[in-house]
Symmetry: C2
Subunit: 166 residues, 2 copies
């Protein structure tokens, strides 16, 4: 897998996002001896259907549609817990929603731009942001374990036009 520019806010062939994410997930789980079961993979695919974070119950509804059996909340939450543990997805706490991680292979913080209009999320990869947080923590004597940065506002598209899909 080559390096990728963030493209949630850019026109792109989304099927590549999905296939890359699934391929990466399979590779990572195989390497770690973690089991990417059918349900877990289904949830991951549903999350990757767009760059818009999805809530647990939205995922549940979509799972239920595709299934003959009824689907209960624990099914979804367990799959989400697994995907979070494996860092295949991120949780956006401010909106109780989940989004696919475009580069689960290397460890990183959860930093996002979130468009209030179209709902899309784009991961931020800024050495400058990461380093300044690290520096502030060091100065405060604070030992960082995890972090999330959620920046809300308008994406480039929505600043100038009306909202849209995908």
């Amino acid at each position: 897998m080559t390096d990728k520019e963030p493209l949630a806010f850019t026109r792109h062939n989304h099927s590549h996002c999905v296939s890359d994410a699934l391929q990466a997930a399979v590779a990572i789980c195989t390497e770690r001896g973690a089991r990417l079961t059918a349900i877990r993979q289904q949830v991951l695919e549903l999350i990757w259907q767009s760059h818009k974070p999805l809530g647990a119950y939205a995922l549940l509804d979509q799972l239920a549609e595709k299934s003959t059996k009824p689907v209960a909340p624990p099914t979804v939450y367990r799959a989400l817990d697994f995907l979070l543990e494996q860092k295949l997805i991120h949780r956006i706490a401010a909106i109780n929603a989940f989004i696919g991680c475009p580069h689960p292979d290397h460890n990183h913080a959860s930093h996002f731009f979130l468009c209030d209009d179209c709902g899309r999320a784009e991961e931020i990869h800024s050495k400058s942001v990461s380093n300044s947080i690290k520096k502030a923590a060091t100065e405060a004597g604070f030992a960082v374990q995890s972090q999330s940065l959620e920046v809300f506002g308008l994406c480039p598209d929505c600043r100038t036009q009306d909202g849209h899909d995908s």
Copy 2:
């Protein structure tokens, strides 16, 4: 009110935090023609009882103890909504909890260190952090409306000893 160093993780006379916060709240609400009613002030005081973010239902329970009448959730959430609107408190989304703002007089983002051990929260005031986020947004063409940074880990005290109160 003079400039204050962040001190949630530092030994300090906490009564000053409370009185400063209340004084500032009164001043701000007066200036804005906003009504800091009895309930709103009570909730603000409860939030300021420590530097640990408190959940809505924890606040509700404490309100109920002090009151003869039963207290229902909307009472608390309305007070919280008011205090959030006036920027007298911040919401920590990752833990569904609320914490007092030590300098509600000037507008600012919600950036916090949160100790996993003792539960205390300290606001981050780092030009470097703010500027790097602003810069990343500009580069991405993203128009920032609001933001929250929640950094979890161990505070200076808890890195070296066991957790404690206040």
